[in-house]
Amino acid sequence: MFVQPLPKSFNVDNEIIPPDYSDHFLFFEELQRSYDCPEHPANIGLLATTKGNCNYYVNGGKNQVDPGKVFFISRGSRLAIRTTEKGVAPVLLFFHSKLPDLVLHSLIYGGEVLLEKPFDSLPFDFSYLERIHVDEQLHQVVASLLVLGDSCGSFASLQADMIIREMFENLLRKNQEAYKHSQNVQAVKASTRLEIFKRISTARDWMDAHYNAAITLEDIGVVAAMNSQHFLRMFKQVYNITPHQYLIDLKLKKAKQLLESTELTINEICQTIGFESVFSFSILFKGRFGQPPSQFRRAEQ
């Protein structure tokens, strides 16, 4: 992996073909000036920021990314970067151009049969993931590469490569999962299916981040830029459960995690995950995990 400051432009000499990277490239700079990178075809990668908000324009759409979020960009998408604030620190990680080939090859022929036939014909179509991901952990991993990239630590470069490789394998799995879910959308045109899927996924990410708040179907519909009833139908089509069931399941999984890893009382956990009644929480928990929270905790201890 190579760490470099942000260039004035990424590929002025070649307006058609995305840049070909012979290694992983991490572009990073804490900007002391406004930065305006003209639109160009991009390679597959991740766009983030370690400080301030950065505006990444992908295929004409504005995506405001702040710390804790990461935008996944697919190869060939058109990228422009514009930021006027001082002190913003954009981070752009572009993968080695051969990485998709290598990872796919090893996953298909390395004993781990990951991909099923329908996806085999789409090895480079990562568009199902092309959106902002609210993923603090992924953001941390990208940020950790900055430390490794500058490090004189022994085998630092090897460590960076392995982290990137693992990150890419996870993204590939996520993309495959997203592709499968997207096929549930009943739409004639592939582009419509993709657009609906992206909106539903964005709303699901938002639910993941706000699971403990009192959110309504209307709130989620706004995030998905859809009428709430239409959103409800589409969400159910994609994930085979309603948004309400999805939220309850999220809360219960979080509760289980808290029971396993903290000393919080059941009352406190109930409040943390946004349940009003301990009684209904206990019933739902038992329904999901086979035993009430108190018994689950005793078994854990």
Binding site: F155, A156, S157, L158, Q159, D161, M162, E166
Partner: protein, 169 residues
Amino acid sequence: MAQLPPADFSQFKLRVNVRTSVENAYRAWASASGLDSWFLGKVTFTDEAGAARSGDSLAQGGDEYACYFYRHPETMAIKGKVLKANGRNLFSFSFSKGCPVTISIYTEQNETIVELIESNLPTDEETMRKHYVGDSKGWIFYLTNLKSVLEGGLDLRNKNADIVNVITH
């Protein structure tokens, strides 16, 4: 003046003298518990049937290994295959980019020499810089730590999570 032959960047050799027995040095390379005490991080060996070897048992040719970061135990640092293991003084495994690393252990001047050769390194300019320089730098520290651990029991790896960008891990 005669021209020097072109440098060979496709492999490098490093040697370290260690005041220990050949057997101990071999065990430090070929067992998971041996490697845990001085190398990158926790190591597991699995045999050809896929069963994990116990910490003290010696790896055999055909085993697979996985090494996890000492400071980030959830992240796999590297995985590869044991290419040769004669049970006495020769141990070889695939490493970064699948390049073979061969460890030969022998006696010289009443001390044990651990000799490491990493070969088949890519020689195009970009990867050469990264692998030849990066890997040899990495091995120099870890061979030094191997000597320190085997001779005096002092582990030189940095264990302070707040300190980064140091050669000791």
